[in-house]
Symmetry: C2
Subunit: 394 residues, 2 copies
């Protein structure tokens, strides 16, 4: 038996259900095997949890038996401690393959696949994932010239869309954590405070956790731009002091056992200008309209349509998507990279799906982010946090 | 003129020097242009700094003129705030390309390259990088069938190996930050303390900074495994309490303006067992031997040889590399992915290179990590921190 960690996130039967669901999708796609490089997908299928995705690694799932874990030799010990499989399903490659232009780890994976009878198999690979490089793909194809390769990008991600009961428990814990993080921001932020001092407190609050549940690292660091920097959505921080009469938005997430609950809020010291108040009111109305459209059977694009109609009525436009699916995640993205709340996404909503509804507006002189993590219920939609939905004014 | 951030990390002339150095390497490789997807390379060439690398983006450098920044439309505002180039060199793509299986951002990049006369150019791409997926490569090649594609993985990374004076200033600030982080661990850690509580303090200390210099986010979160979890190098944390008679190692980095100074230490509550003390002594002696071998003109593998000979003499073996190049970095890796201190790496050491000398030993029942960030000087090697080099015993 593998030596488990003190407290595994899920028991083996939950992984077996996930694997069965994934195999059904593989059968439908006509695949004999998939090579899963996305750490979120690896973790969801096997339990493996380690910051080792900066080297090539994968889970391999065929139509029978436990998945294989494959990665750097030294990380096999981490797989032994975190993945549910038996020790003989864990394979490590030699350290000389690490970041060495003369030897690619995929040569080793090709041998492993061949030794499992997959030389001529139809194999799915995640072609558009951070952790499956163009070179990895080329080396693997060259080493197994008789295999047939298919694009399986998103195949596992889509199986993750509807959450289990325990996954929802973890997302609620993450929600309590992000609530605590926003409460701490409101408590501590003062004009003159250096931005990094505030971000240090946000980070620490998130990792301490809430309601007795520990905080995991978020897949994206806190984003907290002020003033003109807040016209840009993804800037991080420096030590510039918070200033009176300036908006700062905080795009942050609570995380527990790799499950994320993102939520953004905007803070203003002083009296917000009228166009901020107008944007706040527009976002509030459009959010109500959008969340009212979330129910089982509705389409992702229905939610976007309700949102955009209400926003337009209030005199604003938003040309980016109004939200995305959330759940288990690793850097660099806390989204699941499947459903988007935008025109053209005709995915049918089901109970147990979770979204970050993300009606951010970037203005000429700053940004307004007042966002809602939500769960699709049996009859409609539930907000995962009770964070107040207005601009924080101090 | 672009509106700069409050305090840019480098003035434009430093970027021009970097670009000239990169163009010399491009000329040697016979390239007309490079598409740079690695955020560390993008930042080093242009100053661009944002957590937007979860969508496709790149800097494009040809043999003339300022680089082009290309990315998601909403992130163009961030490029305007952080990159040194004029506004007309910044190009954003429509949001409908984001995570949409029916439309790939590389179709947009192909049009941009063509509009700059590169349809038949010889173009280098970073084939083995996290942020250049197999799909991105396939779409780009298909859209520009007459271009000639070359593997430029590492081309920019190698130009980063020797640091400028100001880069060294930033690395020294990062070194002061990691020293402060280790001092805080020694001050706070107690048996019974939940691991996540300690990690929250480590993170906050790193972001607060040291000596009046703010802390940036590290490219890897703090790794802090205890006991049997410490037999694995890359596990993160949960809320398990620190226990008496158990070792915990802390693999952490200080960061300032994206420059990293990693350093690891091991903590033991109680009297460390004899085999820990033996490993500590072996690592100490082998570290002295290795650092004595670091000087301009020596090869990377000379350092590894000196280290391994001393380690073997003390009765230990290490089969993974003993260190790697460090500097500017973004997640998921704080290494530069060029030089490794291991057999076969015949790179000649030069003044201004920086390494994380990383003589970690993973034992049957735990791990010992006592590591040293170092700078190659005109005559030898300088330790970047004064952190004590023994097992912390409390």
């Amino acid at each position: 038996m593998p030596s488990a960690r003190t407290s595994p996130s899920f028991e083996t039967p939950e992984y077996l259900v996930r694997i069965a669901r994934t195999r059904a999708a593989m059968a439908e796609a006509g695949l004999d095997a998939i090579v899963v490089s996305d750490p979120s997908n690896m973790g969801w299928l096997t339990g493996y949890d380690g910051w080792s995705f900066y080297v090539h690694q994968a889970a391999v799932l065929t139509m029978e038996g436990e998945p294989l874990w494959w990665g750097r030799g030294m990380d096999r010990a981490g797989a032994l401690r975190t993945a549910f499989m038996e020790e003989d399903r864990l394979f490590g490659y030699a350290d000389s393959y690490v970041q060495n232009p003369d030897a690619h780890p995929m040569e080793d994976l090709a041998r492993l696949l061949a030794s499992h009878g997959l030389e001529r198999a139809r194999i799915g690979v995640e072609l558009d994932n951070y952790y499956y490089s163009a070179k990895a793909d080329a080396v693997l194809r060259k080493a197994l010239p008789e295999a047939r390769w298919e694009d399986a990008t998103g195949l596992v991600n889509w199986q993750r869309a509807v959450k289990s009961e325990l996954e929802i428990v973890y997302m609620r814990r993450a929600a309590a954590i992000v609530e605590a993080m926003h409460a701490r921001i409101l408590e501590l932020a003062e004009p003159g405070m250096a931005k990094n001092e505030l971000v240090a407190e946000i980070f620490a609050t998130g990792i301490r956790g809430a309601d007795g549940h520990w905080g995991d690292y978020p897949a994206i660091v806190p984003m907290a731009p002020s003033g003109l920097d807040a016209t840009a959505p993804h800037l991080t921080w420096d030590d510039t002091p918070l200033r009176p009469n300036e908006a700062t938005f905080f795009e942050i997430a609570g995380a527990h056992r790799r499950y994320h609950c993102p939520q953004s809020r905007t803070l203003f010291f002083g009296r917000p200008p009228d166009h901020y108040r107008a944007a706040e009111a527009a976002v509030g109305e459009a959010t109500e309209a959008a969340l009212a459209a979330i129910r089982p059977g509705a389409l992702c694009e229905d939610v976007a349509r309700a949102f955009n109609a209400a926003l337009r009525k209030a005199g604003f436009e938003k040309d980016s998507r109004a939200g995305y699916s959330i759940g288990l995640s690793y850097p660099p993205d806390w989204g699941e990279r499947t459903m988007s709340l935008r025109a053209g996404d005709r995915t049918v909503l089901e109970p147990g799906m979770a979204f970050h509804f993300m009606p951010a507006l970037w203005l000429e002189d700053g940004g307004i982010e007042i966002t809602e993590p939500v769960l699709v219920t049996g009859t409609g939609c539930e907000r995962l946090t009770g964070t107040p939905g207005n601009i924080y004014v101090k």
